[in-house]
């Protein structure tokens, strides 16, 4: 096998990750339950659905701007997994859920997720295919479409989980104008600042993926959080050792990470 530069290290890291994940999965299945830090934004999603139910107004959700055929697909994936949970909550409390999409291939995925959620909750009659909308690849056509839904359908809450670009600020400010509760989550570093300053609840970076794990309701997902923490500790150690080593002029560790 001919590895690319840095391929060996990345491959080993992945194997390590998968091994730890499977190990944790086994442990959690056997009854191990760690204490999970409270992240306000998780509660924020329930609060948003609850308020929409009280007011009898719909909720708006969008999984963002990233496609599945790109390296940023992870955020869209996390957004869609969260959508499954949000759709179940909406079905349970009879809240209408409006979904807006920018990428064509994400459209059928979101349709499927919402439909299944309503079906599982025994509310398949309440599922309306016309509520899951596609607003084209064009960044600001999609943005104006979302803004049109928020203002036109009189939504009570706006939930944005996925990968976002400049349009993030437009959504957040438009929804704020209409008094929506806002929950946002993204790992796009350029857009987190806008969500943090304008939304009620924000899932920053890794928290978006954690939300996907916790919200999907499967106790086995907890294992992935434990795995993330183990990997985090390993990386902190690696960075510390590497930094100390480079301080003494030894670049061996850096070279292994980058070039091995």
């Amino acid at each position: 096998m001919v590895f690319k530069d840095g391929g060996r290290f990345a491959f080993l890291l992945l194997i390590f990750l998968v091994a730890v994940l499977l190990y944790c999965h086994k442990k959690v299945k056997a009854g191990f339950r760690p204490q999970i830090r409270e992240i306000p934004a998780f509660k924020g999603i329930e609060e948003a659905v609850g308020r929409a139910a009280e007011m009898g107004r719909p909720i708006h959700f969008t999984p963002g701007s990233d496609a599945f055929n790109a390296q940023t697909a992870g955020m869209t994936l996390a957004g869609v997994i969260c959508l499954a949970h949000i759709a179940s909550l909406c079905a349970r409390y009879d809240v209408r859920l409006l979904v807006s999409n920018r990428r064509p291939e994400v459209q059928p995925v979101t349709e499927e997720v919402v439909k299944q959620a309503f079906l599982t909750e025994g509310k398949s009659g309440a599922y309306r295919p016309t509520d899951i909308r596609f607003f084209s690849d064009d960044q600001f056509a999609y943005a104006s479409g979302v803004v049109g839904v928020i203002s036109g359908e009189n939504t009570a809450a706006n939930i944005m989980l996925g990968g976002f670009y400049a349009e993030s600020l437009m959504f957040a400010e438009a929804a704020a104008t209409y008094g929506n509760i806002q929950v946002a989550g993204t790992a796009s570093t350029s857009q987190i600042p806008f969500f943090v300053t304008t939304c009620d609840y924000v899932l920053i970076g890794e928290e978006l993926y954690a939300a996907a794990a916790i919200l999907s309701d499967d106790p086995a997902q907890v294992s992935s959080l434990v795995m993330q923490d183990i990997v985090r500790v390993v990386i902190i150690c690696l960075v510390t050792i590497g930094a100390v080593a480079t301080s003494f002029g030894w670049h061996g560790i850096k070279d292994i990470v980058l070039k091995w």
């Binding site: 990345a10 499927e112 104006s144 954690a210 907890v222 960075v239 301080s247």
Partner: protein, 197 residues
């Protein structure tokens, strides 16, 4: 008079009318925009993807392309109540390729590159501050480890670092966003109304 510029200027005003609140003009412009953009997306997909990458090579003898063709048709089974399950197969394909690409991107650019660049030599105040910032921010995201008081202050420091970063990024973006707005105002006042000499 250039009709194109007038049309563009009126559409611009229509879109901006949203700033005054939801209104009919905005809805019409927004509908025009979405309609045209979705059509454009479709025409591009048809002319630049489906014809040259699927149809022509398929007719030219690249029979393997039958598979994505069939997968593509399977997507349409969602319209039928009875066979909707079939559409999960292409969806699974799309999502799996996406997941694999996400692992590639995160592993090779986010993790290894960033981890390596985080190994700064601790020989200046700046680098030490940077190192502390990276470690504290990483520690902030811990989910399942029971927080000790020391851990709590580390993650608080991490949050402060992030707030500084967000404030700076926000402030730095003001200039870019203003430039775009100024550009549009120069278009409206200059190219359209000829008020700018």
């Amino acid at each position: 008079m250039d009709w194109g510029i007038t049309v563009a200027a009126l559409l611009n005003i229509g879109l901006w009318s949203f700033l005054l609140g939801d209104n009919l003009l905005f809805r019409v412009v927004q509908s025009l925009y979405v309609g045209a953009a979705v059509a454009h997306t479709f025409v591009l997909a048809y002319r630049n993807t489906l014809i040259p990458n699927l149809w022509e090579p398929l007719l030219g003898g690249k029979h393997i392309l039958i598979i994505p063709f069939v997968l593509g048709l399977m997507l349409f089974t969602r319209v039928s109540r009875k066979h909707a399950q079939i559409s999960k197969i292409p969806i699974s394909f799309i999502v799996a390729v996406g997941a694999a690409l996400a692992i590639r991107g995160s592993l090779l650019s986010d993790l290894t590159q960033q981890v390596a660049s985080a190994m700064v030599p601790l020989n200046s105040v700046n680098n030490i501050v940077m190192f502390i910032g990276i470690i504290c921010t990483l520690a902030y995201f811990t989910f399942t480890i029971k927080p000790t008081p020391a851990m709590k202050s580390v993650s608080t420091l991490g949050r402060y670092f992030m707030m500084a970063a967000f404030g700076a990024a926000f402030g730095n973006t003001v200039m870019a966003r203003m430039s775009l707005l100024i550009g549009r105002l120069q278009f409206l006042l200059g190219d359209w109304l000829h008020l700018i000499k």
